[in-house]
Amino acid sequence: MARTLAMFTDVSLCIGCRACQVACKQWNQLAPEEPEWTGSYQNHQHFTDKSYRLVRFFEEPDDKVGVRWHMMSDVCKHCAQAGCLEACPTGAIYRTEFGTVNINQDICNGCRYCVSACPFGVVAFNHDTGTATKCTFCNDRIHNGLGTACAKACPTQSIRFGYRDELAALARKRVEELQKQGYKDAQLYGEDQNGPLGGLNAFFLITGKPSIYGLPANPKLPQRNVFVDSLLSIGSAIAVGIGAVVAFRSRGGKGES
């Protein structure tokens, strides 16, 4: 296993220019889409099969300044415990030697289970190819010594690419700095490898509660349910089974008909 790679997205530096979104579309040769009117500069509303990076715009009501405007370049989190990867029945979704999560387009058969299993709503179904698609962490670039296209294009270094341990140290320092400057809500999201989903390999610095950014406060691996649900199913099977055995052993009415 090579050293784990990561992307660190610092929303306090994001200016909402969407250069990352464009760079992603260009490098990955993603087809153009009809624009969507979302009420802000955000386009599209959600990740699509042809938009792997998405700059989200959020408005937070604030007593002092009226409205605080948040911009965040969102992307697949490449979770250390990934719901899509565990759900995939074909093995098309795999973990690379860099710790990123990728969908092998030659294996995927388009069952769409991963789409519903992602706790962040990242994976999208492409009706043209019949497969599931998402951010590849620029798989072709990182295997050739290049960083991701979005990080390369970002003019403010809001998106950084590098080794996870180095980026995590940088991120923790940045939080301290911001808190000193008075941004009391500055916090990291997904940096903690002991935290939810074993940490995210694309983690974020946010300057407010996760809910402001549409992020779940405590994302969970959907497959954590499999064990308990299976046990309860076995319990149900035993109850029904015993009932059926009794039903066939006992004679219902008196006498044969």
Partner: protein
Amino acid sequence: MEPGLLKSADWPLLIDVYFFLGGIAGGAFVIATIANLFGSERYKSVVRVGYYVALLAVIPAPILLIVDLGIPTRFLHMLMVPKPSTAIGAGALTLGPFHLKPLSPMSAGAWALLVFSGCAFLAALDVLLEQRGGRGFPALRMVIGLIGSVFGLFLAAYPGVLLGASARPLFVNGHWLGALFLAVGASTGAAMIALVLAVTSGERRDALGALMRTVAVALVVQAIALVLFVVTVKMSGSVGISRALAPLLSGEYSLTFWLGAVLVGLVVPLALQFAGGGLRRASAGITALVAILVLVGGFVIKYVLIAAGQAT
């Protein structure tokens, strides 16, 4: 998370039909096996019809699944790929080109469907041989019955576990979908056998009574699992959980749910059975009516849960 930011697999009606047929197949197979092992000669018809129903219900299953795929020609990837790696999930098992992911209910379900289909075919074949005047293979039928029953129960229950292992707010916060789907499989499987027997030969009152008692037990388990599902979802306290439950209980799908799944599928058949004495000596007419209601309710409950879960 804002539930609106999550995505849905948008599984169409085909998948609901598959879950319905898979439940009938698994349920009918298990009941036929129980009738074979524990029932007396009187229940021969249940064994015969049960194994036939299991086979006929499972035959369309793979077709429905394959048609729904984005790339249907790649259906075999569910079981095998040229060079499976172990980087495809926790506890992934590989053997040659084959792979199995224990944490992915869909992966396990694909294997269960394969093994169960084989058992259903052999059991139906044995029953056919016997019916044609042959002696059949009682010992073999017993072994196939037991193996097939394990996979039949799996086939009936796994869609519920599969839904629970997704990120959809309605599914992920309750733990009882697998238990519920299993009970629905048993009730619809027994109902299908009863319907066939009631329509083709109204005189087998012993068999119909035993099947109706089985249906009653399964319906009670079904009702308990449904209540526990709704309660655990409600009590999970997740963000936006009331919004996730609303389409089912009071919104878009509530009429279908209360009328189709609860009233037609649970309350009326149970009331008919307890009030009409169908549990003791069932008349063909009442049995057929109850069976049809249970089958309709069994489909509706699966359909409405999936629709409501995908909507939020």
